[in-house]
Protein backbone atom coordinates (compact mmCIF):
# COMPACT_ATOMS: atom_id res chain seq x y z
CA UNK A 1 0.00 0.00 0.00
CA UNK A 2 2.53 2.57 -1.09
CA UNK A 3 1.37 6.08 -1.61
CA UNK A 4 3.06 6.18 -5.03
CA UNK A 5 0.83 3.42 -6.34
CA UNK A 6 -2.14 5.46 -5.22
CA UNK A 7 -0.79 8.58 -6.88
CA UNK A 8 -0.07 6.61 -10.03
CA UNK A 9 -3.70 5.67 -10.18
CA UNK A 10 -4.91 9.24 -9.90
CA UNK A 11 -4.68 10.40 -13.53
CA UNK A 12 -6.71 7.36 -14.56
CA UNK A 13 -9.28 8.16 -11.92
CA UNK A 14 -9.55 11.74 -13.12
CA UNK A 15 -9.91 10.65 -16.75
CA UNK A 16 -12.61 8.13 -15.89
CA UNK A 17 -14.30 10.66 -13.67
CA UNK A 18 -14.43 13.18 -16.51
CA UNK A 19 -15.82 10.65 -18.98
CA UNK A 20 -18.48 9.45 -16.55
CA UNK A 21 -19.05 13.08 -15.64
CA UNK A 22 -20.57 13.66 -19.07
CA UNK A 23 -23.01 10.87 -18.33
CA UNK A 24 -23.65 12.36 -14.90
CA UNK A 25 -24.52 15.69 -16.51
CA UNK A 26 -27.09 13.79 -18.56
CA UNK A 27 -28.46 12.31 -15.34
CA UNK A 28 -28.55 15.79 -13.83
CA UNK A 29 -30.87 16.94 -16.63
CA UNK A 30 -33.43 14.24 -15.93
CA UNK A 31 -33.01 13.82 -12.19
CA UNK A 32 -32.55 17.43 -11.10
CA UNK A 33 -34.16 19.48 -13.83
CA UNK A 34 -37.03 17.24 -14.93
CA UNK A 35 -37.41 15.50 -11.58
CA UNK A 36 -37.43 12.09 -13.27
CA UNK A 37 -35.27 9.13 -12.26
CA UNK A 38 -34.44 7.84 -15.74
CA UNK A 39 -33.13 4.27 -15.78
CA UNK A 40 -32.63 4.28 -19.54
CA UNK A 41 -29.03 5.33 -18.96
CA UNK A 42 -27.94 1.85 -17.92
CA UNK A 43 -28.70 0.78 -21.48
CA UNK A 44 -28.03 3.93 -23.47
CA UNK A 45 -24.46 4.20 -22.17
CA UNK A 46 -23.66 0.92 -23.87
CA UNK A 47 -25.63 1.91 -26.97
CA UNK A 48 -23.32 4.89 -27.38
CA UNK A 49 -20.23 2.76 -26.88
CA UNK A 50 -21.46 0.06 -29.23
CA UNK A 51 -22.42 2.44 -32.04
CA UNK A 52 -19.13 4.29 -31.77
CA UNK A 53 -16.96 1.17 -31.75
CA UNK A 54 -18.80 -0.49 -34.62
CA UNK A 55 -18.61 2.66 -36.73
CA UNK A 56 -14.92 3.11 -36.10
CA UNK A 57 -14.31 -0.52 -36.99
CA UNK A 58 -16.33 -0.09 -40.17
CA UNK A 59 -13.92 2.65 -41.17
CA UNK A 60 -15.89 5.78 -40.35
CA UNK A 61 -14.14 8.77 -38.88
CA UNK A 62 -14.25 9.84 -35.26
CA UNK A 63 -16.67 12.72 -35.78
CA UNK A 64 -19.41 10.73 -37.54
CA UNK A 65 -18.97 7.93 -35.00
CA UNK A 66 -19.48 10.30 -32.07
CA UNK A 67 -22.39 12.06 -33.74
CA UNK A 68 -24.11 8.75 -34.49
CA UNK A 69 -23.53 7.58 -30.92
CA UNK A 70 -25.13 10.80 -29.71
CA UNK A 71 -28.11 10.38 -32.03
CA UNK A 72 -28.53 6.72 -31.05
CA UNK A 73 -28.63 7.83 -27.42
CA UNK A 74 -31.21 10.46 -28.24
CA UNK A 75 -33.39 7.78 -29.83
CA UNK A 76 -33.26 5.69 -26.64
CA UNK A 77 -34.40 8.76 -24.71
CA UNK A 78 -37.16 9.26 -27.25
CA UNK A 79 -38.32 5.68 -26.67
CA UNK A 80 -38.50 6.20 -22.92
CA UNK A 81 -40.14 9.61 -23.36
CA UNK A 82 -42.87 8.21 -25.58
CA UNK A 83 -43.47 5.23 -23.30
CA UNK A 84 -43.91 7.73 -20.49
CA UNK A 85 -45.92 10.52 -22.11
CA UNK A 86 -47.78 8.87 -24.99
CA UNK A 87 -48.45 5.53 -23.29
CA UNK A 88 -48.88 6.73 -19.73
CA UNK A 89 -46.26 4.41 -18.24
CA UNK A 90 -44.54 5.72 -15.13
CA UNK A 91 -41.16 7.27 -15.86
CA UNK A 92 -39.22 4.69 -13.84
CA UNK A 93 -40.92 1.76 -15.50
CA UNK A 94 -40.57 3.35 -18.94
CA UNK A 95 -36.82 3.62 -18.34
CA UNK A 96 -36.59 0.01 -17.19
CA UNK A 97 -38.46 -1.18 -20.27
CA UNK A 98 -36.21 0.75 -22.64
CA UNK A 99 -33.15 -0.43 -20.76
CA UNK A 100 -34.25 -4.05 -21.10
CA UNK A 101 -35.00 -3.64 -24.78
CA UNK A 102 -31.65 -2.00 -25.30
CA UNK A 103 -29.87 -5.07 -23.96
CA UNK A 104 -30.97 -6.94 -27.08
CA UNK A 105 -30.38 -3.99 -29.34
CA UNK A 106 -26.87 -3.45 -27.99
CA UNK A 107 -26.06 -7.12 -28.56
CA UNK A 108 -27.36 -6.80 -32.12
CA UNK A 109 -25.30 -3.68 -32.76
CA UNK A 110 -22.11 -5.38 -31.60
CA UNK A 111 -22.93 -8.90 -32.75
CA UNK A 112 -21.55 -10.20 -29.48
CA UNK A 113 -21.41 -9.28 -25.82
CA UNK A 114 -17.99 -7.70 -25.92
CA UNK A 115 -16.47 -5.82 -28.82
CA UNK A 116 -12.82 -4.84 -28.38
CA UNK A 117 -11.24 -2.01 -30.30
CA UNK A 118 -7.47 -1.89 -30.35
CA UNK A 119 -5.83 1.50 -29.92
CA UNK A 120 -2.92 0.25 -32.06
CA UNK A 121 -5.12 -0.22 -35.09
CA UNK A 122 -7.50 2.67 -34.70
CA UNK A 123 -6.95 6.31 -34.12
CA UNK A 124 -8.89 6.72 -30.91
CA UNK A 125 -9.76 10.05 -29.36
CA UNK A 126 -9.23 8.91 -25.79
CA UNK A 127 -7.49 5.89 -24.32
CA UNK A 128 -6.21 4.78 -20.95
CA UNK A 129 -2.78 4.70 -22.55
CA UNK A 130 -2.97 8.42 -23.15
CA UNK A 131 -3.18 9.76 -19.66
CA UNK A 132 0.50 10.12 -18.86
CA UNK A 133 3.58 11.01 -20.87
CA UNK A 134 1.79 12.10 -24.03
CA UNK A 135 1.56 15.56 -25.61
CA UNK A 136 -1.15 17.73 -24.11
CA UNK A 137 -3.41 17.60 -27.16
CA UNK A 138 -3.42 13.82 -27.12
CA UNK A 139 -3.90 13.61 -23.40
CA UNK A 140 -7.20 11.99 -22.53
CA UNK A 141 -7.68 14.15 -19.46
CA UNK A 142 -7.20 17.29 -21.50
CA UNK A 143 -9.50 16.14 -24.29
CA UNK A 144 -12.29 15.02 -22.01
CA UNK A 145 -11.94 18.23 -20.03
CA UNK A 146 -12.40 20.27 -23.21
CA UNK A 147 -15.37 18.07 -24.10
CA UNK A 148 -16.91 18.74 -20.72
CA UNK A 149 -16.39 22.49 -20.93
CA UNK A 150 -17.89 22.68 -24.42
CA UNK A 151 -20.90 20.62 -23.34
CA UNK A 152 -21.46 22.75 -20.26
CA UNK A 153 -21.27 25.89 -22.40
CA UNK A 154 -23.81 24.40 -24.81
CA UNK A 155 -26.17 23.37 -22.02
CA UNK A 156 -25.81 26.75 -20.32
CA UNK A 157 -26.90 28.37 -23.55
CA UNK A 158 -29.71 25.92 -24.19
CA UNK A 159 -31.25 26.14 -20.74
CA UNK A 160 -31.14 29.90 -20.99
CA UNK A 161 -33.25 29.98 -24.16
CA UNK A 162 -37.04 30.27 -24.20
CA UNK A 163 -37.33 26.56 -24.87
CA UNK A 164 -34.72 25.62 -22.28
CA UNK A 165 -36.34 27.82 -19.64
CA UNK A 166 -39.69 26.19 -20.28
CA UNK A 167 -38.00 22.82 -19.86
CA UNK A 168 -36.63 23.85 -16.47
CA UNK A 169 -40.05 25.09 -15.47
CA UNK A 170 -41.65 21.80 -16.55
CA UNK A 171 -39.64 19.91 -13.96
CA UNK A 172 -40.35 22.52 -11.33
CA UNK A 173 -44.09 23.10 -11.63
CA UNK A 174 -46.14 21.29 -14.26
CA UNK A 175 -49.40 23.02 -13.28
CA UNK A 176 -47.88 26.43 -13.77
CA UNK A 177 -46.39 25.34 -17.07
CA UNK A 178 -49.68 24.18 -18.52
CA UNK A 179 -51.30 27.42 -17.37
CA UNK A 180 -48.56 29.29 -19.20
CA UNK A 181 -49.06 27.30 -22.37
CA UNK A 182 -46.04 25.05 -22.03
CA UNK A 183 -46.32 21.53 -23.40
CA UNK A 184 -44.98 19.60 -20.42
CA UNK A 185 -45.07 16.21 -22.14
CA UNK A 186 -43.07 17.48 -25.08
CA UNK A 187 -40.53 19.01 -22.75
CA UNK A 188 -40.16 15.80 -20.79
CA UNK A 189 -39.45 13.91 -23.99
CA UNK A 190 -37.01 16.59 -25.08
CA UNK A 191 -35.17 16.41 -21.76
CA UNK A 192 -34.95 12.62 -21.94
CA UNK A 193 -33.69 12.82 -25.52
CA UNK A 194 -31.00 15.35 -24.66
CA UNK A 195 -29.98 13.51 -21.51
CA UNK A 196 -29.57 10.14 -23.17
CA UNK A 197 -27.71 11.70 -26.05
CA UNK A 198 -25.13 12.89 -23.54
CA UNK A 199 -25.08 9.53 -21.80
CA UNK A 200 -24.41 7.76 -25.10
CA UNK A 201 -21.69 10.24 -25.92
CA UNK A 202 -20.10 9.42 -22.60
CA UNK A 203 -20.43 5.72 -23.49
CA UNK A 204 -18.70 6.34 -26.80
CA UNK A 205 -15.76 7.93 -25.01
CA UNK A 206 -15.73 5.26 -22.32
CA UNK A 207 -15.60 2.41 -24.85
CA UNK A 208 -12.59 4.02 -26.52
CA UNK A 209 -10.96 4.72 -23.19
CA UNK A 210 -11.19 1.14 -21.95
CA UNK A 211 -10.65 -0.34 -25.41
CA UNK A 212 -13.92 -2.19 -25.76
CA UNK A 213 -17.66 -1.86 -25.68
CA UNK A 214 -19.42 -4.36 -23.45
CA UNK A 215 -23.07 -5.11 -23.07
CA UNK A 216 -22.60 -4.82 -19.31
CA UNK A 217 -20.74 -1.54 -19.35
CA UNK A 218 -23.73 0.54 -18.31
CA UNK A 219 -24.78 -1.60 -15.40
CA UNK A 220 -25.38 0.63 -12.42
CA UNK A 221 -24.58 3.75 -14.44
CA UNK A 222 -27.58 5.55 -13.00
CA UNK A 223 -26.16 5.08 -9.50
CA UNK A 224 -22.79 6.48 -10.54
CA UNK A 225 -24.56 9.40 -12.19
CA UNK A 226 -26.64 10.05 -9.09
CA UNK A 227 -23.54 9.73 -6.92
CA UNK A 228 -21.79 12.39 -8.99
CA UNK A 229 -24.84 14.65 -8.77
CA UNK A 230 -25.26 14.31 -5.01
CA UNK A 231 -21.53 14.54 -4.24
CA UNK A 232 -21.23 17.63 -6.44
CA UNK A 233 -24.22 19.18 -4.77
CA UNK A 234 -23.07 18.35 -1.25
CA UNK A 235 -19.59 19.76 -1.77
CA UNK A 236 -20.22 22.72 -4.05
CA UNK A 237 -23.95 23.42 -3.72
CA UNK A 238 -23.39 26.29 -1.32
CA UNK A 239 -20.82 28.10 -3.45
CA UNK A 240 -21.89 27.24 -7.01
CA UNK A 241 -25.20 28.98 -7.69
CA UNK A 242 -24.80 29.67 -11.38
CA UNK A 243 -26.22 26.99 -13.69
CA UNK A 244 -22.95 26.40 -15.55
CA UNK A 245 -21.13 26.02 -12.26
CA UNK A 246 -23.74 23.56 -11.08
CA UNK A 247 -23.08 21.43 -14.13
CA UNK A 248 -19.38 21.74 -13.43
CA UNK A 249 -19.97 20.55 -9.88
CA UNK A 250 -21.56 17.40 -11.32
CA UNK A 251 -18.42 16.74 -13.35
CA UNK A 252 -16.30 17.41 -10.27
CA UNK A 253 -18.56 15.10 -8.26
CA UNK A 254 -17.89 12.37 -10.78
CA UNK A 255 -14.13 12.90 -10.56
CA UNK A 256 -14.28 12.75 -6.78
CA UNK A 257 -16.30 9.57 -6.98
CA UNK A 258 -13.60 7.91 -9.05
CA UNK A 259 -10.84 9.22 -6.83
CA UNK A 260 -12.59 7.75 -3.80
CA UNK A 261 -13.00 4.54 -5.72
CA UNK A 262 -9.27 4.55 -6.44
CA UNK A 263 -8.54 4.97 -2.76
CA UNK A 264 -10.88 2.12 -1.92
CA UNK A 265 -9.12 -0.12 -4.41
CA UNK A 266 -5.76 0.99 -3.08
CA UNK A 267 -6.88 0.01 0.42
CA UNK A 268 -7.39 -3.47 -1.01
CA UNK A 269 -11.07 -3.53 -0.27
CA UNK A 270 -12.85 -6.40 -1.97
CA UNK A 271 -13.74 -4.99 -5.42
CA UNK A 272 -16.86 -7.11 -5.44
CA UNK A 273 -18.21 -4.82 -2.74
CA UNK A 274 -17.76 -1.64 -4.79
CA UNK A 275 -21.28 -1.49 -6.17
CA UNK A 276 -22.74 -2.12 -2.74
CA UNK A 277 -20.63 0.70 -1.40
CA UNK A 278 -21.78 3.03 -4.20
CA UNK A 279 -25.40 2.18 -3.56
CA UNK A 280 -25.06 2.86 0.16
CA UNK A 281 -23.27 6.16 -0.39
CA UNK A 282 -25.91 7.36 -2.86
CA UNK A 283 -28.72 6.23 -0.59
CA UNK A 284 -27.29 8.21 2.31
CA UNK A 285 -26.73 11.33 0.23
CA UNK A 286 -30.25 11.15 -1.17
CA UNK A 287 -31.62 10.76 2.33
CA UNK A 288 -29.86 13.81 3.75
CA UNK A 289 -32.35 16.44 2.54
CA UNK A 290 -35.21 14.29 3.81
CA UNK A 291 -33.59 13.79 7.21
CA UNK A 292 -32.80 17.47 7.41
CA UNK A 293 -36.42 18.48 6.91
CA UNK A 294 -37.75 15.75 9.13
CA UNK A 295 -35.46 15.74 12.14
CA UNK A 296 -33.83 19.15 12.23
CA UNK A 297 -36.13 21.79 10.79
CA UNK A 298 -39.02 20.46 12.84
CA UNK A 299 -37.44 21.15 16.23
CA UNK A 300 -39.22 23.97 17.98
CA UNK A 301 -36.77 26.43 19.32
CA UNK A 302 -37.02 28.97 22.13
CA UNK A 303 -38.74 28.86 25.52
CA UNK A 304 -37.44 27.08 28.57
Amino acid sequence: MSITSLLNGMPGAVAQGLIWGIMAIGVYITFKILDIADLTVDGSLCTGGAVCVMMLMAGYGMVPALICAFIAGMLTGLATGLLHTAMGISAILAGILTQLGLYSINLKIMGKANQPINANNYDLLVSLRNIKGVPLFENTIFITFIFTVVLIAFLYWFFGTELGSSLRASGCNADMCRAQGINVSFNKVLGLVLSNGLVALSGALLAQYQGFADVQMGRGAIVIGLAAVVIGEALFGKIFKNFALRLLSVALGSIIYYIVLQVVIWMKLDPQLLKLLSAIIVAIFLAIPYWKSKYFAGKVKGGK
Binding site: T161, S165, S166, A169, C172, C177, R178, A179, Q180, I182
Partner: protein, 265 residues
Protein backbone atom coordinates in the same frame (compact mmCIF):
# COMPACT_ATOMS: atom_id res chain seq x y z
CA UNK B 1 -66.14 36.64 -24.97
CA UNK B 2 -66.73 33.38 -23.12
CA UNK B 3 -69.55 31.03 -23.87
CA UNK B 4 -70.21 27.88 -21.89
CA UNK B 5 -72.95 25.78 -23.42
CA UNK B 6 -74.67 23.00 -21.53
CA UNK B 7 -71.57 21.45 -19.96
CA UNK B 8 -71.89 18.09 -18.25
CA UNK B 9 -69.13 16.50 -16.24
CA UNK B 10 -69.37 13.43 -14.06
CA UNK B 11 -66.38 12.18 -12.11
CA UNK B 12 -65.77 8.47 -11.51
CA UNK B 13 -68.67 7.48 -13.71
CA UNK B 14 -70.10 4.06 -12.97
CA UNK B 15 -68.38 3.68 -9.61
CA UNK B 16 -69.65 4.17 -6.08
CA UNK B 17 -67.80 7.47 -6.05
CA UNK B 18 -69.73 8.78 -9.03
CA UNK B 19 -70.21 12.51 -8.71
CA UNK B 20 -72.06 14.78 -11.08
CA UNK B 21 -69.98 17.94 -10.81
CA UNK B 22 -71.44 19.96 -13.69
CA UNK B 23 -75.02 19.35 -14.67
CA UNK B 24 -75.85 21.25 -17.83
CA UNK B 25 -74.03 24.42 -16.89
CA UNK B 26 -74.41 27.33 -19.28
CA UNK B 27 -72.93 30.79 -18.95
CA UNK B 28 -72.25 33.69 -21.25
CA UNK B 29 -69.74 36.39 -20.47
CA UNK B 30 -69.58 39.64 -22.44
CA UNK B 31 -66.23 41.26 -23.04
CA UNK B 32 -65.20 43.14 -19.92
CA UNK B 33 -67.56 41.29 -17.60
CA UNK B 34 -66.10 40.79 -14.13
CA UNK B 35 -68.14 37.97 -12.65
CA UNK B 36 -67.81 36.80 -9.07
CA UNK B 37 -68.76 33.20 -8.42
CA UNK B 38 -70.08 31.83 -5.15
CA UNK B 39 -71.56 28.52 -4.08
CA UNK B 40 -71.18 25.89 -1.39
CA UNK B 41 -68.43 23.32 -1.15
CA UNK B 42 -68.68 20.90 -4.03
CA UNK B 43 -71.07 23.13 -6.00
CA UNK B 44 -68.84 22.77 -9.04
CA UNK B 45 -67.09 26.15 -9.07
CA UNK B 46 -63.57 24.83 -9.51
CA UNK B 47 -64.84 22.21 -11.91
CA UNK B 48 -66.31 24.96 -14.07
CA UNK B 49 -62.99 26.83 -14.16
CA UNK B 50 -61.10 23.63 -14.89
CA UNK B 51 -63.47 22.90 -17.76
CA UNK B 52 -62.77 26.32 -19.22
CA UNK B 53 -59.02 25.87 -18.72
CA UNK B 54 -59.08 22.41 -20.28
CA UNK B 55 -57.70 20.44 -17.35
CA UNK B 56 -59.88 17.64 -18.74
CA UNK B 57 -62.60 17.42 -21.35
CA UNK B 58 -66.27 17.73 -20.40
CA UNK B 59 -68.58 14.79 -21.10
CA UNK B 60 -70.70 17.00 -23.31
CA UNK B 61 -71.29 20.63 -24.13
CA UNK B 62 -69.14 23.32 -25.75
CA UNK B 63 -66.77 25.98 -24.59
CA UNK B 64 -66.20 28.94 -26.85
CA UNK B 65 -63.66 31.66 -26.12
CA UNK B 66 -63.66 34.79 -28.25
CA UNK B 67 -65.44 32.96 -31.05
CA UNK B 68 -63.12 29.95 -31.06
CA UNK B 69 -64.48 26.57 -30.04
CA UNK B 70 -61.82 25.29 -27.63
CA UNK B 71 -63.71 22.28 -26.28
CA UNK B 72 -61.21 19.82 -27.71
CA UNK B 73 -58.11 21.92 -27.32
CA UNK B 74 -55.51 20.61 -24.84
CA UNK B 75 -54.80 22.65 -21.75
CA UNK B 76 -51.44 24.05 -22.82
CA UNK B 77 -52.82 25.27 -26.17
CA UNK B 78 -55.83 26.85 -24.56
CA UNK B 79 -53.54 28.77 -22.25
CA UNK B 80 -53.07 31.42 -24.91
CA UNK B 81 -56.61 32.64 -24.19
CA UNK B 82 -56.43 32.40 -20.44
CA UNK B 83 -54.81 33.89 -17.39
CA UNK B 84 -55.09 31.72 -14.32
CA UNK B 85 -54.46 32.14 -10.62
CA UNK B 86 -54.94 29.16 -8.35
CA UNK B 87 -55.97 28.92 -4.72
CA UNK B 88 -52.63 27.43 -3.72
CA UNK B 89 -49.90 30.10 -4.05
CA UNK B 90 -47.40 27.31 -4.81
CA UNK B 91 -49.18 26.26 -7.98
CA UNK B 92 -48.96 29.42 -10.00
CA UNK B 93 -45.22 29.99 -10.01
CA UNK B 94 -42.02 27.96 -10.41
CA UNK B 95 -40.33 28.10 -7.01
CA UNK B 96 -36.83 27.18 -8.19
CA UNK B 97 -36.75 29.89 -10.81
CA UNK B 98 -36.14 33.60 -10.50
CA UNK B 99 -38.91 36.19 -10.38
CA UNK B 100 -37.79 37.56 -13.73
CA UNK B 101 -37.66 34.07 -15.25
CA UNK B 102 -41.20 33.35 -14.11
CA UNK B 103 -42.39 36.59 -15.65
CA UNK B 104 -40.51 35.86 -18.87
CA UNK B 105 -42.16 32.44 -19.08
CA UNK B 106 -45.56 34.08 -18.64
CA UNK B 107 -44.82 36.81 -21.16
CA UNK B 108 -44.49 34.07 -23.78
CA UNK B 109 -47.79 32.40 -23.04
CA UNK B 110 -49.39 31.24 -26.25
CA UNK B 111 -46.25 31.85 -28.27
CA UNK B 112 -43.82 29.37 -29.73
CA UNK B 113 -40.85 28.86 -27.39
CA UNK B 114 -37.79 29.24 -29.56
CA UNK B 115 -34.04 29.07 -29.15
CA UNK B 116 -33.86 32.80 -28.60
CA UNK B 117 -32.52 33.88 -25.24
CA UNK B 118 -35.20 33.33 -22.62
CA UNK B 119 -35.22 36.84 -21.20
CA UNK B 120 -34.16 40.01 -22.95
CA UNK B 121 -32.52 42.99 -21.29
CA UNK B 122 -35.41 45.33 -22.03
CA UNK B 123 -37.79 42.86 -20.42
CA UNK B 124 -36.08 43.16 -17.07
CA UNK B 125 -36.70 46.90 -17.09
CA UNK B 126 -40.35 46.35 -17.92
CA UNK B 127 -40.72 43.77 -15.16
CA UNK B 128 -39.06 46.09 -12.68
CA UNK B 129 -41.65 48.77 -13.47
CA UNK B 130 -44.54 46.35 -13.22
CA UNK B 131 -43.26 44.99 -9.92
CA UNK B 132 -42.81 48.52 -8.64
CA UNK B 133 -46.50 49.11 -9.33
CA UNK B 134 -47.36 46.09 -7.16
CA UNK B 135 -45.78 47.93 -4.25
CA UNK B 136 -44.55 44.76 -2.57
CA UNK B 137 -40.87 45.61 -2.63
CA UNK B 138 -40.18 43.04 -5.35
CA UNK B 139 -38.77 45.48 -7.91
CA UNK B 140 -35.21 44.97 -6.68
CA UNK B 141 -35.49 41.24 -6.32
CA UNK B 142 -35.80 40.25 -9.97
CA UNK B 143 -33.10 37.63 -9.55
CA UNK B 144 -34.49 36.14 -6.34
CA UNK B 145 -35.96 32.67 -6.46
CA UNK B 146 -39.74 32.75 -6.23
CA UNK B 147 -39.59 30.08 -3.54
CA UNK B 148 -38.33 32.75 -1.16
CA UNK B 149 -41.49 34.86 -1.48
CA UNK B 150 -44.46 34.86 0.87
CA UNK B 151 -47.80 33.42 -0.22
CA UNK B 152 -49.26 36.86 -0.82
CA UNK B 153 -46.27 37.96 -2.85
CA UNK B 154 -46.52 34.81 -4.91
CA UNK B 155 -50.22 35.37 -5.60
CA UNK B 156 -49.56 38.97 -6.60
CA UNK B 157 -46.78 37.77 -8.88
CA UNK B 158 -49.07 35.13 -10.38
CA UNK B 159 -51.67 37.81 -11.05
CA UNK B 160 -49.07 39.90 -12.78
CA UNK B 161 -47.98 36.85 -14.79
CA UNK B 162 -51.57 36.16 -15.80
CA UNK B 163 -51.95 39.68 -17.17
CA UNK B 164 -48.52 40.20 -18.79
CA UNK B 165 -49.67 38.69 -22.04
CA UNK B 166 -53.26 39.93 -22.17
CA UNK B 167 -55.66 37.03 -21.64
CA UNK B 168 -59.12 36.86 -23.21
CA UNK B 169 -60.45 35.55 -19.91
CA UNK B 170 -58.94 35.70 -16.44
CA UNK B 171 -59.76 32.75 -14.16
CA UNK B 172 -59.32 33.21 -10.42
CA UNK B 173 -60.09 30.24 -8.19
CA UNK B 174 -60.30 31.47 -4.59
CA UNK B 175 -56.94 33.09 -5.15
CA UNK B 176 -57.03 34.90 -1.79
CA UNK B 177 -58.36 32.02 0.32
CA UNK B 178 -54.93 30.86 1.47
CA UNK B 179 -53.83 34.35 2.57
CA UNK B 180 -54.22 36.19 5.86
CA UNK B 181 -57.03 38.81 5.79
CA UNK B 182 -54.73 41.78 5.33
CA UNK B 183 -52.78 40.22 2.48
CA UNK B 184 -55.99 38.90 0.96
CA UNK B 185 -57.41 42.43 0.89
CA UNK B 186 -54.28 43.71 -0.78
CA UNK B 187 -54.30 41.00 -3.43
CA UNK B 188 -57.99 41.65 -4.07
CA UNK B 189 -57.32 45.34 -4.49
CA UNK B 190 -54.58 44.49 -6.93
CA UNK B 191 -56.98 42.17 -8.75
CA UNK B 192 -59.46 45.01 -9.15
CA UNK B 193 -56.77 47.27 -10.46
CA UNK B 194 -55.40 44.81 -13.00
CA UNK B 195 -58.86 43.81 -14.19
CA UNK B 196 -60.06 47.41 -14.52
CA UNK B 197 -56.90 48.76 -16.12
CA UNK B 198 -56.95 46.08 -18.77
CA UNK B 199 -60.73 45.65 -18.99
CA UNK B 200 -60.25 41.93 -18.52
CA UNK B 201 -63.13 39.52 -18.80
CA UNK B 202 -62.91 37.78 -15.44
CA UNK B 203 -64.37 34.89 -13.48
CA UNK B 204 -63.50 35.09 -9.78
CA UNK B 205 -64.49 32.35 -7.36
CA UNK B 206 -64.69 33.37 -3.74
CA UNK B 207 -66.05 31.99 -0.51
CA UNK B 208 -66.51 35.43 0.90
CA UNK B 209 -69.94 36.92 0.16
CA UNK B 210 -68.83 40.44 0.93
CA UNK B 211 -66.03 40.16 -1.60
CA UNK B 212 -68.41 38.66 -4.15
CA UNK B 213 -70.74 41.62 -3.69
CA UNK B 214 -68.07 44.30 -3.54
CA UNK B 215 -66.23 43.25 -6.69
CA UNK B 216 -67.23 42.85 -10.29
CA UNK B 217 -70.31 43.82 -12.24
CA UNK B 218 -72.08 40.51 -12.03
CA UNK B 219 -72.48 37.73 -9.50
CA UNK B 220 -73.46 34.13 -10.07
CA UNK B 221 -74.14 31.39 -7.60
CA UNK B 222 -73.58 27.78 -8.49
CA UNK B 223 -75.39 24.89 -6.91
CA UNK B 224 -75.25 21.24 -7.91
CA UNK B 225 -73.36 22.02 -11.06
CA UNK B 226 -75.75 24.66 -12.36
CA UNK B 227 -76.10 28.40 -12.24
CA UNK B 228 -78.71 29.05 -9.59
CA UNK B 229 -78.53 32.83 -9.29
CA UNK B 230 -77.30 35.37 -11.81
CA UNK B 231 -77.33 38.97 -10.68
CA UNK B 232 -76.03 41.84 -12.78
CA UNK B 233 -76.34 45.54 -13.47
CA UNK B 234 -78.09 47.83 -10.98
CA UNK B 235 -79.33 44.87 -9.01
CA UNK B 236 -75.75 43.75 -8.45
CA UNK B 237 -74.68 47.25 -7.48
CA UNK B 238 -77.34 47.50 -4.80
CA UNK B 239 -76.86 43.98 -3.54
CA UNK B 240 -76.40 43.35 0.17
CA UNK B 241 -75.61 40.14 1.98
CA UNK B 242 -79.17 40.04 3.29
CA UNK B 243 -80.83 40.39 -0.12
CA UNK B 244 -78.40 37.87 -1.55
CA UNK B 245 -79.26 35.37 1.15
CA UNK B 246 -82.97 35.84 0.72
CA UNK B 247 -82.60 35.44 -3.02
CA UNK B 248 -80.67 32.28 -2.45
CA UNK B 249 -83.33 30.77 -0.22
CA UNK B 250 -86.03 31.79 -2.65
CA UNK B 251 -84.24 30.14 -5.49
CA UNK B 252 -83.32 26.98 -3.63
CA UNK B 253 -86.57 26.76 -1.69
CA UNK B 254 -84.64 25.36 1.17
CA UNK B 255 -84.57 26.04 4.83
CA UNK B 256 -82.44 28.70 6.44
CA UNK B 257 -80.98 26.52 9.13
CA UNK B 258 -79.84 23.76 6.79
CA UNK B 259 -78.09 26.00 4.39
CA UNK B 260 -76.17 28.33 6.60
CA UNK B 261 -73.22 26.01 6.04
CA UNK B 262 -73.38 26.61 2.32
CA UNK B 263 -72.29 30.18 2.54
CA UNK B 264 -69.86 31.78 4.84
CA UNK B 265 -70.54 35.44 5.42
Amino acid sequence: MLEIKDIHKTFNKGTVNQKIALNGLSLHLKAGDFVTVIGGNGAGKSTMLNAIAGVWKPDSGRIIIDGDDVTNMPEHKRAKYLGRVFQDPMRGTAADMEIAENLALAARRGKMRTLKWGIKKAERELYREKLLALDLGLENRLSSKVGLLSGGQRQALTLLMASLEMPKVLLLDEHTAALDPKTAAKVLELTDRIVNENKLTTLMITHNMHDAIAHGNRLIMLSDGQVMLDIAGEEKKNLTVETLLSKFYQASGEDFADDSVLLSK
